[in-house]
Symmetry: none
Subunit: 143 residues, 2 copies
């Protein structure tokens, strides 16, 4: 299980150090994909396989599914960690997540989320907590 939040930087060669706590679970390589909310996800190979298998079974004759398949696989990358535990983040994914310099990496159960620090700040939970409607929503789930 991936837990905790870390501050990172991406360097001029577009490399990001995967927090050491996450490395053992990934075993030297991982799948980097486009996530919701303009962040990126890191999945273990196993979890990615599960999703990929489901998606690959969709009919190509459906235009919406074609678009979806293209978007999903076109924005997924197999990343091998280098000697220093870093992965390279490709251009298309950097652009999607507005990644330039400062990052926030956060464990989210079965995946790791990678955020641009600025984007994360905008989405910050504290901001949403100010909205009383959100706590109302949580109350429905007894949280």
């Amino acid at each position: 299980m991936f837990l905790g939040t870390y501050q990172n930087k991406i360097d001029d060669k577009n490399r990001m150090a995967v927090p050491a706590k996450f490395r053992d679970q990934l075993g030297g390589k991982c799948m980097l994909t486009k996530g919701f909310d303009e962040c990126l996800y890191i999945y273990t190979m196993e979890d990615f396989e599960v999703m990929a298998a489901k998606i690959a079974a969709l009919p190509q004759s459906d235009a919406d599914f074609r678009e979806f398949i293209r978007d999903f696989f076109g924005n997924s990358e197999l990343c091998e960690l280098d000697g220093q535990g870093r992965i390279k983040i490709p251009q298309n994914l950097r652009e999607y997540a507005h990644i330039t310099k400062d990052l926030v990496t956060t464990g989210a159960m079965n995946k790791v989320e990678i955020w641009s620090a600025e984007t994360k700040a905008d989405f910050d939970l504290a901001k949403k907590m100010k909205d009383s409607k959100f706590t109302d929503k949580l109350r429905e789930f007894s949280i």
Copy 2:
């Protein structure tokens, strides 16, 4: 599995460099076909055989199927990669996909899609308009 998105150019001799990540899976040659959505597909020889068998098995009594079969095989080409890992894209397929200079090559599971950069940009823009529909779909498959 074909993954990721790459920027390419087609040169004056109508050659396109196949992204290095895709070359091993293709093994020196590939099938280039007309795809849906005004892009081209690259299949491995094996996957093309599967696709071709399915299409050839469509009932010839149906005029729509006859036309589809004609269109599919008439716009398929066996391409051998040259010493630099490039393939030549024939005129009929260039025209279909509006290919002039800049390309986007994207992995889509069992095939590679080749897009004119302009066409892809238009397509992506159109997709943003109906994005909510798309993200709903993503939600069904994400874990």
